[in-house]
Symmetry: C2
Subunit: 553 residues, 2 copies
């Protein structure tokens, strides 16, 4: 038995990149991507990705692991780049289009991006971010994506800009070699993607995942959501959110059709469901809420066929869930982090529960659930003792996970990495939860410093640091305030300096933030206090502020 | 980027064993196994397996990697042992119940089995095999499985036997500790299962798979067959055939219900389909044939709900396929080897093909297809040049594969391992096929020396060596003869020695084989020839004999 060792025949690296070549055979003439009047087949997508990968490799060389960034909405190019960039040997970094130029500038420099693909709708945003580069630094090569047909004509290049686009996306595709041999990683632990979780200008946190982790999360997510072959998948979830929870690569594995969508709008979504026969989509609970509140709901016109929706981030409120189900949506609910490449816990629905009363179904569905088969271990532990809390549904502790899709770490931040991944081999999520008697996990409190607003992570520490920079402010704490539409919004508790000539008002503080932060990060509510509540050791008691924020009228 | 290395948080070994604990939470009170009047839930199965694993570990110790063998039909214990044995740290070896005592004796000794679980229906077979052990050798510990209720009472122990059963299966379960910490493998490359592919008394070939390979094949097979959650799975495929193509562990991953079945019989199967609402089953094409020829077919009574059937080994003939489909079976077709732990190529059906005429559908479905997403590479190469053959649907070559579920190797047979796994990192399957223009694989000839009879592999070399031991025989070659019922049966071409007093007849040769081989390996047909056709270098031209066998009346 001792002589039986791994061989070259079974040690092929685990990577999702091979799914594309397979799809080009198994689903050759089936639709891969549809966007407005553009349609590609899987053999075309395979060919285009090879061509693009060869052009990227020719531009950058493949010996070093360069970072290639993308600032784009859910357009066909965004999908193709999920294969083409790593197939060229580079690392893919998708950037949230809602960030401001300053933050994007920081991320491009932090990641040392050599090449940036830019959606024409993000053109001025990215040009502005490049203009913020320090004078003697080398800006990245810029490539403009103009291949979609639903938008206003491309604006004339701004002559004031000192930076230029080197070429267009389509010329890179056209100029590439379809016989390019894509670069198989030497090790399955080689980095493949980079995703920034918080856009702070002080300490960007870039989550790095390897090929093996992405392979595991992709197959795990397909099984956990029981995705059949050839689904019709609507891209409501931005691909720049943890790579669309790995369903980018997943769609190639099952030969699905990717229906692209630039911006969420309920009536557009209902139109696409009708037109393409959408079977699957992912979204934040806020989006689910908008869907069930749309005019379609008022007419109580049920969907022709069931549409499977996977949602995560926060449990959908029972009322939203019931409305969505009455329309014909089949809602699944899970939990994950950018650090785990997608969902690692899901509600684990049993068909026996279908006969339960609606209210009971909603209560069961609101629990985050059970680890997926791709996650090795899940636990809730006491922060201090590191021991498992009681499985009683009320003892709270920190959620910890262990498994193949846990990130390699944060880019250039060994300290943050080691804070998050302890020596015991667990990833500390920072989220607080309980274990129910039946082994189901339920989250009791959001990740300490994060507010999830419309599916976007807002790091309260970042907002606080901006407000602290206001000379009138004495002290500040930002917490989440529950919101029907957005799930949560940032709520700032501020104590002002004494003896000011004029005290700033709520509007002033909000405006101050909007000038310095992406708009979704600015507080929606500001509460002024003489003093913020503190512990005996002087720590602000955020949990008390959260209670106040919850009860605001 | 260079500092980002694997950590304990993401290096958890890939193994399917954790699926069971998860099923005990996600599907706790749902049915896991049903056999006649016995029903278990997933939390019971989890508990029973932990108890059994603890008893096995207590008996054998867990420091060394012992082999634990099982000789059993598809009964609940057989399913539980697929988890319990590796959870105890031992290696599972399931033995084909159709083998004869002599062969079983060889396999038990070759594998150095320390412990053997014996289905009461295989009791005398195993006792006989132990009696064939050399005088001073240490026989394994025997455990009798008596936990099923559909069979005749257990016969009284034969007093003539010198070996005894140490205990029963149920006492081991009952005596075990449900809080046992199952033994996680140190490395995902640690061996987990052993499966003998040919029972030759001279050179048993024991395929060894590791935890990682089994994990990959299990998730791959679930995705490839698009198995939904909570299927009702009928065990028509023996679990001792490559561990039921990994659906043993797969059913725990999706919370399925395992319907056990000792022996295939069409009317029993139809009864179980009705009674339990079977949704999925696997079988050899011969079994599919029997199902579509059963009385149910004559009444043309379609199934109430579609039943998904996965078949492999040989393409189902168009007539069988059409009959099965008209009854309500949804047939998928694939290709695999014990050496790949299950199917690695599948027909890759597209929903667009559903509208094709029946005959065209059958033609498309008869092709073996496309590699699964878990297989890294598939090719057809020229045996001599090792180069890919043309993708033209007519250039034949040897099928080669590469990927995570390729075996570690053959137990104690480095030579056979290296013959099969070349230095180029491919597993040479020995099967001959062509690549179609569209990239689909089609097998053109069975693996050279293997005849597949009723789903069982018959190694022609073994049968030949037995016939060669007959003093009247000059020369022999055994090839496959196509058979409506069995798929193929062994057909022997024999040239007799000159000047014999009495020439043996067909019946004599068959009887000679049945005395020395498992009955299914004995030839069904014997053709006498003055001389066997040979190449210029004296090699018997088997392909000519195959043609003759095909055309026999």
């Amino acid at each position: 038995m001792e002589n039986l060792k791994p061989s070259a025949a079974n040690s092929s690296v685990l990577t999702p990149l091979g799914f594309l070549e397979r799809a080009s055979i198994a689903y050759s003439d089936c639709s891969s991507i549809i966007h407005n009047t553009t349609t590609y087949t899987w053999s075309q997508t395979h060919r285009r990705c090879l061509q693009l990968a060869s052009s990227i490799a020719a531009l950058l060389g493949i010996k070093e692991r360069h970072v290639v960034s993308v600032v784009a909405f859910n357009i066909p190019a965004m999908y193709e780049l999920h294969f083409a960039v790593p197939m060229s040997g580079a690392i893919l970094n998708t950037i949230n289009t809602r960030l401001d130029a300053r933050t994007i500038s920081v991320l491009l420099r932090h990641s040392q991006s050599r090449l940036v693909f830019v959606d024409q709708q993000c053109r001025s945003l990215v040009l502005q971010s490049i203009s913020l580069f320090p004078p003697n630094s080398q800006p990245p090569i810029l490539v403009l994506i103009t291949d979609d047909d639903d938008d206003a004509l491309m604006p004339a290049p701004s002559s004031s800009s000192t930076v230029e686009f080197t070429t267009t996306y389509e010329s890179m595709v056209e100029g590439g070699d379809p016989r390019f041999e894509w670069v198989r990683p030497k090790s399955e632990w080689d980095p493949m993607v980079l995703n920034y979780t918080s856009g702070t200008t002080s300490s960007p946190k870039g989550v790095v995942h390897c090929h093996r982790g992405i392979f595991i999360k992709t197959v795990d997510s397909l099984i956990d959501w029981a995705v059949p072959k050839q689904p019709v998948y609507l891209w409501t979830l931005p691909m720049f959110h943890a790579n669309g929870w790995c369903f980018t690569w997943g769609m190639a594995a099952v030969g699905g059709t990717n229906i692209c969508l630039r911006k969420f709008d309920a009536s557009t979504v209902y139109g696409l469901i009708d037109r393409h026969g959408i079977t699957h989509m992912c979204c934040a609970p806020a989006v689910l809420n908008m869907l069930s509140n749309s005019p379609h709901n008022k007419k109580e016109q049920p969907l022709k066929n069931p549409v499977h929706i996977l949602t995560a981030g926060a449990p959908p409120p029972a009322s939203v869930l019931l409305r969505a189900e009455s329309l014909g949506f089949v809602v699944s609910h899970g939990y994950g982090l950018t650090e785990t490449a997608g969902l690692v816990v899901s509600c684990g629905w049993r068909k026996e529960w279908n006969s339960f009363p609606a209210k009971e179904r909603a209560r069961l569905k609101a629990r985050q659930g059970v680890r997926t088969i791709g996650l090795a271990q899940l636990d809730v532990v006491d922060r201090n003792t590191k021991e498992s809390v009681k499985r009683d549904g009320c003892s709270v502790g920190e959620i910890v996970v262990k498994g193949g899709s846990v990130m390699l770490g944060y880019l250039k931040d060994a300290e943050a990495t080691s804070l998050c991944i302890g020596n015991e081999g667990w990833l500390y999520t920072g989220d607080v939860g309980v274990m129910h008697v039946d082994g189901y996990l339920e989250i009791k409190d959001r990740r300490k410093d994060v507010i999830i607003s419309g599916g976007e992570n807002v790091c309260s520490a970042e907002v606080e640091s901006v407000i602290y920079s206001n000379p009138d402010v004495e002290e500040v704490a930002v917490v989440a305030r529950p919101d029907e539409l957005w799930g949560e919004t940032p709520c700032a508790f501020v104590s002002l300096k004494k003896g000011l000539d004029i005290n700033p008002c709520e509007k002033d503080i909000i405006e101050f933030c909007r000038q310095r932060l992406p708009h979704f990060m600015a507080p929606r509510t500001v509460v002024f206090k003489d003093e913020l509540p503190k512990t005996s050791t002087g720590k602000i008691q955020k949990f008390l502020l959260r209670e106040i924020a919850k009860s605001l009228p």
